[in-house]
């Protein structure tokens, strides 16, 4: 990958930013951190099709942080909206109304509530049709905009406003990456805002490809995960160092892990910094649950191999 990238070093990252400031996202939003970096790499010729969620508050009349068009859809229908925009652009090109250089990248912007749950059917249909679009999910592991209810992306044992018991959420986080791979995507990658160089290279690569492409970004969320906004970067870094959030990509029929933590930090260090896992540490430490979470991460990396 390093040969055909313009991002060789962290110093090559863009020093001016396309996304306007003044948005209503929470202070310390890990999702906005990733979206801002991704927009810098994609450039201004980008149309965002936004499934309802936190990020739909980005563009509230008369204010927008974007440099171009933005379309708001319901939670279940963002890929259908993207299909309409892509078709319109194709028709304009076929009729000679726009030049190839004026063509635009169609990007769905969605949270995990939509991506892992109620938008999945329309998404699978768009992949079936081979829709040429990028699907960008900021995953804060719950329905954040409405008060962090459990979503299909919520990790095991996390407390949410609908999983308040001593055990937290009894289910397990859905593997959306593998679903996209199995469904026939042309490119799938996980990113995180605290690994900006890895992120920039993947966005650059995705932008050059055609077909259905997904970027799945973990989005540390001070409000929903219950921690101080200044810890957003540290929690993002720990997600990678503990192996909870593997940085990987699928291209040309193969899954590659881009950053294998050489010596993984114990998962506890990631969990104990977040209020949503506080019930695993007090009033009594729930060693069995903590060991379960650790062993699931260990099993994942054992299967990946070194």
């Amino acid at each position: 990958m390093s040969n055909d990238t313009r991002f060789h070093d962290i110093k090559d990252l863009p020093s001016t930013h396309l996304l306007g400031s003044g948005t209503p996202m929470c202070a310390g939003c890990g999702g906005l951190q990733a979206v801002s970096q991704i927009y810098d790499v994609l450039g201004p010729n980008t149309i965002f099709v936004n499934a309802a969620g936190c990020m739909t508050l980005l563009s509230v009349y008369p204010f927008t942080p974007f440099r171009g068009s933005w379309l708001y859809t319901s939670m279940g229908s963002a890929p259908a909206g993207a299909q309409g925009v892509r078709d319109a652009l194709d028709i304009l090109r076929d009729r000679g109304k726009i030049e190839a250089s004026e063509d635009m990248q169609v990007v769905v912007l969605t949270g995990d509530g939509s991506a892992y749950g109620m938008g999945l059917s329309a998404t699978s249909g768009a992949i079936d049709r081979g829709l040429d679009f990028i699907y960008l999910c900021y995953d804060n592991e719950g329905y954040g905009n409405t008060g962090q209810q459990t979503s299909a992306a919520t990790p095991h044992a996390a407390r949410t406003s609908t999983s308040t018991g001593a055990a937290g959420y009894p289910g397990f986080k859905k593997d959306l990456f593998s679903i996209w791979v199995a469904n026939g995507a042309s490119y799938v990658a996980t990113v995180i805002g605290t690994e900006p160089l890895d992120l920039a290279r993947k966005i650059e690569k995705a932008a050059k490809l055609d077909g259905p492409r997904m970027i799945l970004s973990l989005a540390p969320c001070p409000t929903g995960w219950d921690y101080d906004p200044k810890d957003s970067a540290e929690i993002g870094r720990l997600a990678v160092k503990t192996g909870v959030w593997p940085l990987k990509e699928f291209a040309d029929g193969e899954v590659t892990h881009n950053k294998k933590p050489r010596k993984r930090v114990p998962v506890v260090e990631y969990l104990e910094r977040q209020g949503r896992f506080a019930h695993l540490f007090e009033p009594e430490r729930q060693d069995r649950v903590l060991a379960d979470i650790q062993s699931k991460v260990d099993r994942y990396w054992d299967a990946v191999g070194s």
Binding site: P24, A27, R67, P222, A233
Partner: protein, 305 residues
């Protein structure tokens, strides 16, 4: 009728404070209405909460424009126009500001004649307990709430939280309750509002216009920059130039709000009009060149001659 207005920032427990005060008044036999009003609905953004209490049923609704008591849990809100802290204050109103400064200084600064009291934050006390402190103060100033009913309302509202959190809040509220003993009952009930006494909003009548004018195509880029999210901030990051290594690709890239610009010598420049004060840059700066200053200390520097 008592009309109480709380001003605070998201995350300070203002909504909870208004519910506790409402429940405590209810326990004293009042008819009560309490309602929060969120603006940006984000931690750090200005929010409001209203409590009405009367011996008769409360039919009045909406925003409180004629408060008997105003409680401000963050002094930096006073200068924020959108927070409208001063709205409707009159000579008989009571204004409580969470501040270490003297009440007389605030009276002078604000040019008001009403009673001003200050609620000094405890040593090393975070924003989290300001809600409890303010509800304790409000209960004593109204003078109709017993310590037992105040405590009962707090315990009922916070039920389910860890017991040390509940005890800290109860302790802080009761301490604040006792500290205002000399002003007990200084808040008086306001007059009933009539249709005749209501002031119409200052709206502008608009003619019906053709669609091409009234719904124009929006072509502005990044117009969100007109929104000053810097007003959300209670603490500000300040770069110490002597320590900064100009590795701005770190702080500028990681700032979630694109609020750190990069200068010609790759030096980072913080955009205080938009910085929300998350302080993520402070945490990631490799040379520890970014320090944190409370907003009011910054104001004091600015006013130095």
């Amino acid at each position: 009728m008592y009309r109480i207005r709380f001003h605070g920032r998201g995350g300070q427990g203002i909504k909870t404070a208004s519910r506790i005060l409402g429940s405590a008044l209810f326990a004293e036999g009042y008819e009560v209405q309490d309602a929060p009003r969120y603006g940006a609905e984000r931690r750090g953004a200005p929010i409001f909460a209203y409590v009405r209490a009367d011996r008769a049923p409360v039919y009045e609704r909406g925003i409180i424009d004629h408060p008997d008591l105003v409680v401000v849990t963050d002094e930096s809100l006073v200068q924020v126009p959108a927070a409208a802290v001063m709205t409707g204050l009159c000579d008989r109103s009571v204004l409580v500001i969470a501040s270490a400064a003297e009440p007389e200084l605030w009276q002078q600064r604000l040019g008001v004649t009403c009673r001003v009291l200050t609620l000094p934050p405890g040593p090393g006390e975070g924003a989290a307990l300001m809600g409890a402190a303010s509800v304790g103060a409000a209960a004593k100033l109204i003078g109709q709430i017993s310590a037992a009913n105040l405590e009962g309302a707090i315990r009922a509202e916070l039920e389910g939280l860890p017991s040390d959190v509940i005890e800290r809040n109860v302790g802080r509220a009761l301490e604040s309750f006792d500290s205002f003993e000399s002003h007990a009952g200084c808040v008086s009930e306001g007059e009933a509002l009539t249709r005749a006494s209501a002031t119409p909003p200052a709206w502008v009548e608009l003619e019906v216009e053709p669609t091409s004018i009234s719904a124009p195509a929006i072509r502005g880029e990044a117009t969100s920059e007109q929104v000053q999210t810097g007003l959300w901030r209670t603490m500000r990051p300040v770069i110490d130039d002597s320590l900064c290594n100009h590795c701005s690709w770190i702080c500028s890239t990681l700032c979630p709000d694109a609020a750190i610009d990069v200068g010609s010598d790759r030096e980072p420049i913080i955009d205080y009009e938009h910085c929300k004060g998350c302080l993520l840059c402070v945490a990631v700066c490799p040379s520890h060149a970014i320090v944190v200053e409370p907003e009011r200390a910054v104001d004091e520097h600015r006013s130095d001659p």
